[in-house]
């Protein structure tokens, strides 16, 4: 109980130090408001515009979630297919890697024209960016199994599908979650990118509006909310990880 409070105090403390440094820099260099507002004006802006920012936050959050879930839903089965079938691997892997190098920022404006200003292009960008790490990490996880384990399973008379379901898949879960955690922050970037390029909703739109009107305090306030959102999402995945793989070394308390 006290350990938790203690940890919380440390977190609060570290943020307080960051704010103190920030304020000092602003004061020291007499920064104009439009260049670097101090923490005070930022939080005033946050409080004043909280209703507007909050309503946009739901849109961005929904976009991130949709893009992420779609990415996971496609990436994990695709990775399984690649691992199981060498033929499909040779067919699918090279084009997948090639398309990864295309910056999605370049594609986003095209999506806007093809799919309109609605939610589809933003989810599409979030999906495309989040997709790759999940595939790669799932493949690594599925392939990292000790070959002796497979031998043992075969000697127990297990058919391949049972070996996959009961042994290979659980073995791969830690790696899959690694990919999911990386993908969670990328989904945020993707949703934001989509919103920058064409949106009338969401935190990305708020950022464009704030910067276009030189309202840097609002810009920073939006960024604060954005990072809180990204953090919350990341920790959500971590929580899911804790439930799904409590047995993994990364989840246990370290012995002294």
């Amino acid at each position: 109980m006290y350990a938790r409070i203690y940890a919380l105090l440390w977190t609060v403390g570290s943020f307080a130090i960051v704010f103190a440094i920030w304020q000092t820099v602003v004061w020291l260099f007499a920064m104009p408001q439009y260049l670097l507002p101090g923490p005070g004006p930022v939080f005033v802006s946050l409080a004043k515009n909280s209703a507007a920012i909050l309503s946009q936050t739901w849109w961005t959050a929904a976009t991130i979630l949709a893009g992420f879930i779609l990415a996971a839903a496609f990436a994990i089965p695709l990775a399984m297919v690649i691992v199981i079938s060498p033929l499909l691997e040779r067919l699918v892997y090279p084009p997948m890697v090639a398309t990864q190098s295309i910056p999605k920022i370049a594609l986003a404006p095209l999506f806007i024209v093809w799919f309109g200003f609605g939610v589809v292009p933003k989810v599409a960008v979030a999906f495309l960016i989040a997709f790759f790490p999940i595939v790669i990490d799932t493949i690594v996880g599925l392939r990292s199994i000790d070959p002796a384990m497979l031998q043992l399973a075969r000697s127990m008379g297990a058919p391949p599908h049972r070996i996959f379901r009961k042994i290979r898949l659980p073995y791969a879960l830690p790696a899959i979650f690694g990919g999911l955690k990386v993908a969670s922050s990328l989904a945020v970037v993707g949703a934001l990118t989509g919103e920058f390029v064409g949106s009338d909703k969401g935190l990305g739109y708020m950022l464009v509006q704030a910067s276009g009107n030189l309202n840097t305090a609002l810009l920073f306030a939006t960024l604060v909310v954005l990072s809180a959102l990204a953090m919350a999402f990341f920790y959500l995945i971590e929580m899911l990880e804790r439930i799904a793989i409590p047995w993994h070394a990364s989840q246990r308390q370290h012995p002294h």
Binding site: A51, F117, M206, Q209
Partner: protein, 330 residues
Amino acid sequence: MEKLKDFYAYFCAVGLAAVVALCAFPASAADKATLRLDWVNSGYHAIWYYGLDKGIFQKAGIDLEVLEGKGSAVTAQTVGNGSVTFGTADTAAVMGFIAQGMPIKVVSGYLRQSALAIVFPAEKGWKRFADMGDAKIGYSPGGASSQILPALIKQAGLEGKVQLISMEPAAKMTSILTHRVDGIDSFGFLVVSILEGQGFKAATLPYANEGVNIPGLSLIASDNTIKKSPDLVRRMAMAMNESIVAARHDPEGAIDSLMKRSPTLNRPVVLRTLTLSFDLINPDWGKGKPLGWMSPDVMEKSQDILMKYGGIVKKVSVADYFTNDFVSKN
């Protein structure tokens, strides 16, 4: 158990009544239409929200939904592919697309004076382009003016002297505020008010004074919409112009309507933007003609300029760019 049955029956009755009531409402007689703006909400967009709040569009039988945009190019493209009914976009950009075959047209002028200008600190006192000397000017490639500007620099005899520095649109204002550049190329009315909001007195060198006066924002619609629903297009153009007149008489009220939709905007700044934009509505060549009327002569000259400076490659008939059929009642 009895109570549950009662509740269930009651629920069904209420539900049925609601359905009947909804069906009883006559289908709205108004036409549904969407309008995609050229950018996110700014001072000059107040006319639309004012028109909505004052029932101008409703009276014209239009159920209008106003949507913020992301640049004239995207707005023009989405009008062209039919995903929105109307759009406001920069006329030069629209002409470029039409020359490439996009099936859209200007149905009413709006800011018929060119808004393009070099914005600079007032104390520099520049009066003409030639006064710039070897200044550093910030501009955005791909923007409405990015092809015309180098040509105008050349025309003023400043080639090799003025330095053009490319930057993101958002960076232009901070660059001039921090004196990293001596001036920026942008929409005068928009930028001057924002800079004033930061306590920065700015002045402008309008392109119009150098002989480039291509009309600015216009109302556009797809060829399809014009063909299928000419009456809607007329009502829309008339309602837009009525909203403009109403907003000129009550700029504070117009800004109230705007602030309702975008409460985070800075009120004095957007009010100033709106009033400055009114200066661009009526050019000299529009005297005696209805609001929104586009001059074939001006459009011809504009095409020549754009062709000269690379905005348009293939010449088309001037009538392809616009129509004046909708700016008056007949």
